[in-house]
Symmetry: C2
Subunit: 532 residues, 2 copies
């Protein structure tokens, strides 16, 4: 599984056609003396399936001079909304400077931006920065409470907008562009972040009955938000379907191409929650559940986000059960990231060092295992002398128990949402995994643990930062806005009721890989190293 953030990977259903129309405007004459704006519209219409076309006022102001200076050959940045095509920027046809777009993954902790050539759809450059709102509060709930202070919302909004303007200045300088070369911006973030970015009061999002100010924001002019991009342009903020399912997930669906597939597939995004969507071009069923922390970085005292020195791959060589650890950047080990933990647990299980309840088997762990003062089992992964900071890296039985609960929750969520549409997990033709987690995880290990279903490995696909990818895709095809609204309107949100049936499924999934081993036939194929 690989992913290249510089290449749009999922173009199913949407050519990367760009949002720029080149057009030769009819020259005026005594016979055709309609105004400049109307001749531009008439000249564009044959390229636009003749819907209504509206010209931004800033474009209108430039039009008479630009048409005459450019010999009536111009490029227009176009946005197709529900109601109308909008001309949201114009340049001369021979002007060599690109018309750029800006894709933004507006994360609670990290913000990632890509500069796009709107004409070719190519990524020009990428940058990222920590969300400056972190200095007010790391978690979104505290930020929403901060908005109840006088000017609190304005402060949070200006922090993120200033951060974006700084990043835009850097991105543009590196490409010898000006921020006013950016005509369209697409921003994908969770519902609360989108509100903070737009300066919309988020306080009702966190209070029953959990009401956002808006589900489907209209494209906004940059000046309304304080952005330094071209004033004729538009900012597309991804829609949400409520406080619990934000624009970042809708962007993820677009990025995966789930919404344009004929056969059903599934998309999993693991963050604080596991967000799951099953569907195809006709229907989409979504849910979210707490399964994430242990999977992303929360497991164990030695857990860390994927980064230099994180153990991300583990192999246990039989017959001597020798550990082979891989770290990111091949640095001395500092901790273990989510994919490393999953690899580790799977290898322990396959090597016969964990039983089907997920308990360490002392006789198979040998001298790596020790009991602490409380009688709790610890397994030494890296002895003190080999670690980056001189402390042994160990994983405890409670760490493993926590992982088992997370993997069981994940499998139960997958099983429940699939069952809710009358399907079995094996019927899913494709399994997209978004986010950092998806980029590093080894699906074979997750299958061995019974966290992910036992599908052929080629059905798994990591799609990287799908929030950013979706934002980029909106800028890569003229009907991007229609696509995200089509996605939004077709999502059915499944409220996960933790009822007896859910608990039964959860209990069964707490075994390795599952009480029903017939669901995981391939594990025996990997079992040349193991005797269960």
């Amino acid at each position: 599984m690989t992913n290249d953030p510089n290449k749009p990977q999922h173009k199913v259903g949407g050519r990367a056609a760009g949002c720029v129309q080149r057009v030769t405007v009819h020259r005026p004459s005594l016979e055709n003396n309609t105004a400049d704006a109307e001749r531009l519209i008439e000249s564009l219409k044959p390229q636009l399936s003749s819907r209504c076309v509206s010209i931004d006022f800033s474009v209108l102001r430039q039009l008479p001079e630009l048409l005459r200076d450019s010999g009536h050959l111009v490029r227009c940045a176009m946005l197709k909304t529900d109601a109308c095509w909008q001309v949201a920027g114009i340049k001369g046809g021979a002007d060599p400077s690109p018309m750029a777009g800006l894709a933004v993954d507006l994360g609670t902790t990290r913000v990632v931006l890509q500069l796009i050539d709107l004409e070719s759809g190519q990524v020009l450059s990428e940058t990222a920065f920590d969300n400056p709102q972190l200095k007010i509060a790391p978690d979104i709930l505290a930020r929403i409470h901060y908005c109840e202070q006088p000017r609190g919302l304005r402060h949070l909004q200006s922090l993120i907008v200033d951060g974006l303007n700084d990043a835009v200045a850097r991105l543009c300088a590196a490409q010898e562009l000006n921020p006013t070369d950016i005509f369209l911006t697409a921003v994908a973030g969770n519902t609360a972040m989108a509100h903070l970015f737009m300066g919309l009061d988020p306080r009702w999002i966190i209070r029953e009955p959990y009401i956002p100010a808006v589900n489907r924001p209209d494209p906004v002019k940059p000046a309304e938000l304080g952005l330094s991009t071209n004033p004729a342009g538009r900012v597309i903020v991804f829609p949400n379907i409520g406080s619990y399912f934000g624009g970042d997930l809708i962007a993820g669906i677009l990025c995966s191409g789930l919404d344009s597939r004929e056969t059903p597939a599934i998309l999993v995004d693991v963050g604080t929650n596991a967000e799951v969507v099953v569907g195809n071009r006709d229907w989409l069923m979504a849910c979210a559940g707490a399964a994430g922390p242990a999977l992303e970085s929360g497991v164990a005292s030695i857990g860390m986000m994927a980064g230099p020195g994180a153990i991300d791959r583990v192999t246990i060589h039989l017959p001597d059960r020798r550990f082979e650890l891989h770290t990111i950047g091949d640095q001395p080990p500092r901790g273990i990231c989510g994919s490393g933990v999953i690899d580790l647990a799977a290898q322990l299980f396959l090597a016969g060092m964990l039983d089907i309840r997920g308990k360490l088997i002392p006789e198979n762990c040998g001298q790596c295992l020790y009991k602490d003062e409380n009688g709790i089992d610890h397994l030494v992964l890296v002895p003190a002398e080999a670690s980056a900071n001189g402390t042994a890296l160990t994983i405890s039985q409670p760490d493993i128990d926590s992982l088992i609960r997370s993997k069981a929750a994940m499998y139960t969520i997958l099983e429940t949402i699939t069952a809710s549409v009358g399907m079995r997990l094996e019927e899913l033709d494709k399994f997209y995994i978004a986010g950092t987690f998806g980029s590093f995880i080894n699906p074979a290990s997750a299958i061995a643990l019974g966290m992910l279903p036992d599908l052929p490995l080629e059905r798994y696909e990591a799609i990287g930062n799908s929030s950013l990818g979706g934002a980029r895709q909106v800028l890569q095809s003229p009907d991007g806005l229609e696509k995200i609204e089509r996605i939004r309107s077709r999502i059915t949100y499944l409220e996960l009721n933790v009822n007896q049936e859910f608990m039964n499924r959860f209990s069964a999934a707490k075994f390795l890989p599952h009480t029903d081993t017939t669901r995981f036939p391939s594990i025996r194929l990997h079992g040349d190293r193991v005797r269960l």
Copy 2:
């Protein structure tokens, strides 16, 4: 003929229904947890023939707090565009302050404003000011040339916008309102004035092939123009059909109701040019011709605009041919305005003091007539001792010749445009006369001269400032914008070719009332004072 600027007179085809929708927004619940904006839209849709509804971003920002503070009962200022209903302002349902609109007649020399209650359609107050661009140049052509100077256009735009903001401040202060209580503004002006107001380069309007920047401007946000009205609101600038037929005339058509009549009627607006439109709800034919100056104030050395001391009505009592003069404001006479000149000429003709060629008949003029040093006949209307400034007020034969040419041009234009649609003037059911000229003219006199056709007097109607009236009407019904676009799109512009046929008609119309006296049967009815 009377007209009251405070009363919408022509409501044919458009109830004065207002542009404000009162709506009770569905309260949120766990069962209906769509966002505030979407619940507002859903609650509005049944009142709006369920088209797309878009909410201005400034409204969106206020929405969460306003909905909860107002118990979910709100008033929305609505604008119906081609593509969408726009919510361009919001207030609480119980808030006693009005949602106001601003109608503007954007004249080259004079600007007239009315403040409207958008809910009831009632006029709240009116004011006027001289166009501050006059200090740059009195005529529009010189102003357009001024735009070629650096920052010339910006300067002209800021002059008119500052003037409007000052007038708005005065209007609002008098009503104890704030400029931000104004949500919709409608501006009717000629094509060049509309460009200068919007800051659009007008230079191509005056150069062959005479191209405006725009024919149909989309509604603009006030901030784009520098207006002090509510930032959520919109400014509607009337469309034009070219450099020669501006939004003021389209407003005039709307004001007259011509466009919603079943039977054909005619509208005449006399300014620098005579602008004429014939039509009904199915078709509209327009033309313009030079007939105006002599009719408005340009005739004679003693000509003046209608104002205090202007002779506006003249009666000649037979048998002694005694003059009875009426002046505006019953002031001592200072000059004669257009309607006075027409009255005078008609009375002279009916009293046998002018022949059918429009020449003064010395034997019937008596001692009022004298020849100057060049042998030119002059008729004394007011002796020096009775005039306001101690100089005799006289009218010369060349003054009368000039009037005759103007009246002939006017009649020829009316005849030509009517003939172009295969009609005779007598078939026109209604004859609307716009502007100051229309408010003062006595149609009977104009008929006696053969300037206007010999229709029953009740068919003539003065509609006053029809540019202002049309701007007001746009704010008095929710489909105002659609109506003006329907008008614009149905206008056929007739290029008046001064060909042989036109010249033949013109020659015939240079007689009093016409070479073909059968066209003016009623003149003999007034003829109890006259022997032709």
